[in-house]
Chain length 343, copies 2
DNA sequence: GGCAGGCATGACAGCGTTGTCTGACCACCG
DNA sequence: CGGTGGTCAGACAACGCTGTCATGCCTGCC
């Protein structure tokens, strides 16, 4: 009589326990907990007192199940420790939090297989939506995922197959601004150290580099070295490029890691080389000279992606949209022309 | 007759749908889905075929509810974009993933109130356990949380109240190694730039600094300037400290941000100052001279915390444990004695 | 032929909540 | 005094799954 679930009461009280204790029905407890109208103030007060006394907490799992939504979104990236992704994560989490949702983060470690498994698990949990930085261009367009109506927004890289909302960075514009900056400072022979062409973004940046090179009518054929790169591999190309009459006077590095590899290589080589790095990095202005970079805004991208996702959750049925986020050239000095005599 | 939930079938098939289609009971479908024994191979095959055809996915929410566990753990930190926390996040996620659990990450933005709200929401979700880097020393020891039997592991900072598993970094040892390193290189007048004493770790490091100062019998009273710090505030103290006969010749910076502030200040000041920074940072060896640091290993800490949490989930009932993770002095050059003539 | 014992399968309840519907009660009005 | 309408409260089912228990069938053995 005292409780519907005597032994469990000690563990974790349910609405039934509260109801029994307060001599009301379970439904009335539910109404009080959810601030629904139609409960007399004194009844509500009595229920609240019992809730307090028993330490009752609503079981959101049961609630979700009943309501068919989980108030959860997920973020799937390659590696959470990577600042690019963690900034995205922070932004997405923020958007989720202000909408009373929670965020599940998962790393796929760059493996399409793992990514598929992770997404499937998320779909099985019935997360309300997913933001994915896809491991490869075909990875997630899995039949199962397609079939599940779970809204997905892709980031940073597009995915083939059924069109989905996608948030990209303006790789082309970023590279163009870098090249133009260097040209404006008198450089004519510019090299590119790109990342592994397995990455879509790396290919994009290479294409943009070549295209800009041509559209600006720069002499010679564009010098490009695609990664993966180490300080050693960078040094090798550099020594080759800086010989002869058309010596390279400036380089663009295709991402963060390569920028660092280049800086390490430069420290030994002591070449009068100008530089624009793709991706901003924390200490860019502590290096000597401070490094001019193409700044992408991962936080803004993450925010945008989350916002797009939530629009879908709220019923937006418009056709899938691709947003290209602008980049910004942050001029710090390393892009200036430096004669051998300087410094 | 064809299905228990006709209209919903189009949306998302359930075991009941599969069962009806395969002419078996729901329980048999369950058995097949979960690879339980006791199903004839041909029956299983038939069920699998239907599952495939309908695109059935088990609803994990329902499963969790039935089983009373969510296969979910949570991580609560101040700011996911901060590398220290994101490295922890990556490590915790990894431990969770290899145990078939998922990770909910939440930022409390340094506010104890928000932290409490976040944790309460997680408890309501019945996450199986929580790793928390607490915003303050009393924050999470909330009655509600205490009452919920949810296992919690604290990281980086201890929390007053009922003892809980805690993973700390060896602040004392880290500072001591830094001071000893500087002393070994001939420094006698060493200053500390600590963070805001509101942070437990900042206070710890200050205490350790003072204690080491005394135990090594260094002359004079220890010079300490607690934060928050900016390049300006650092420069101010520096100019004061480096005058007179007992001029400070080396400083220790209490964390990452302060190290950077100091480097910025030094760039203008051009003082022959030695430095050991607390916390490693990405480009520490690209700065000139490369910065010697006390390295904490956030990934190892996160891993340890997650492992401790999972031990509890597996039924470990031993008394709460506090683990202190070692730090490591990474010598890169900035700690060496530098006369005014050098460079 | 009868029965023990094993195997394959199913019926049913229940996890904790909420949506729907029904009902009790009271006040007010013509 | 009967009818209308509003307010508060409860009964019940359902969300989709799994644990427990029951059932039916077949095999093998005495």
């Amino acid at each position: 009589m005292t409780a519907l679930s005597d032994h469990r009461t000690a563990i974790r009280p349910t609405m039934a326990d509260v109801a029994a204790e307060a001599h009301v029905s379970v439904k009335t407890v539910s109404r009080v907990v959810n601030h629904e109208p139609g409960v007399r103030p004194d009844t509500a007060e009595r229920v609240r007192a019992v809730i307090e006394r028993l330490g009752f907490r609503r079981h959101d799992g049961a609630r979700m199940m009943r309501q068919g939504r989980t108030f959860t979104i997920a973020l799937v990236v390659e590696d959470l420790a990577n600042p690019f992704y963690s900034q995205i994560g922070a932004a997405v989490e923020r958007e989720a939090r202000i909408r009373q949702h929670q965020l599940i983060t998962a790393s796929a470690e760059g493996s399409p297989t793992r990514e598929r498994a992770v997404i499937e698990a998320l779909v099985n949990r019935r997360v309300d939506g997913i933001v994915v930085v896809p491991a490869d261009e075909s990875a997630s367009s899995d039949a199962a995922v397609e079939a599940s109506q779970t809204p997905i927004v892709y980031m940073d890289r597009p995915v083939r197959g059924a069109p989905r909302d996608t948030v990209l960075s303006d790789n082309h514009g970023g590279i163009r601004s870098a090249v133009e900056h260097l040209v404006a400072h008198g450089h004519r022979s510019i090299g590119l150290f790109g990342d592994d062409p397995a990455f879509w973004t790396a290919r994009q940046r290479r294409e943009a580099f070549v295209a800009t090179h041509q559209s600006l009518g720069l002499p010679g054929s564009p010098r490009v070295s695609m990664g993966p790169h180490s300080p050693t591999s960078v040094r090798e190309s550099l020594t080759r490029w800086t010989q002869g009459t058309d010596a390279t006077t400036a380089v663009i590095t295709g991402n963060n890691r390569i920028t660092i590899a280049l800086l390490l290589a430069l420290r030994d080589l002591r070449l009068p080389l100008s530089l624009v790095g793709y991706d901003d990095f924390e200490l860019a202005d502590l290096v000597d000279p401070p490094v001019t970079v193409v700044h992408q805004d991962p936080a803004a991208m993450g925010q945008k992606a989350a916002q797009q996702l939530f629009a879908r959750l709220l019923g937006d049925e418009s056709p899938a949209q691709t947003v290209v986020m602008p980049t910004r050239l942050v001029v710090r000095g390393s892009g200036l022309r430096r004669g051998p005599a300087s410094r």
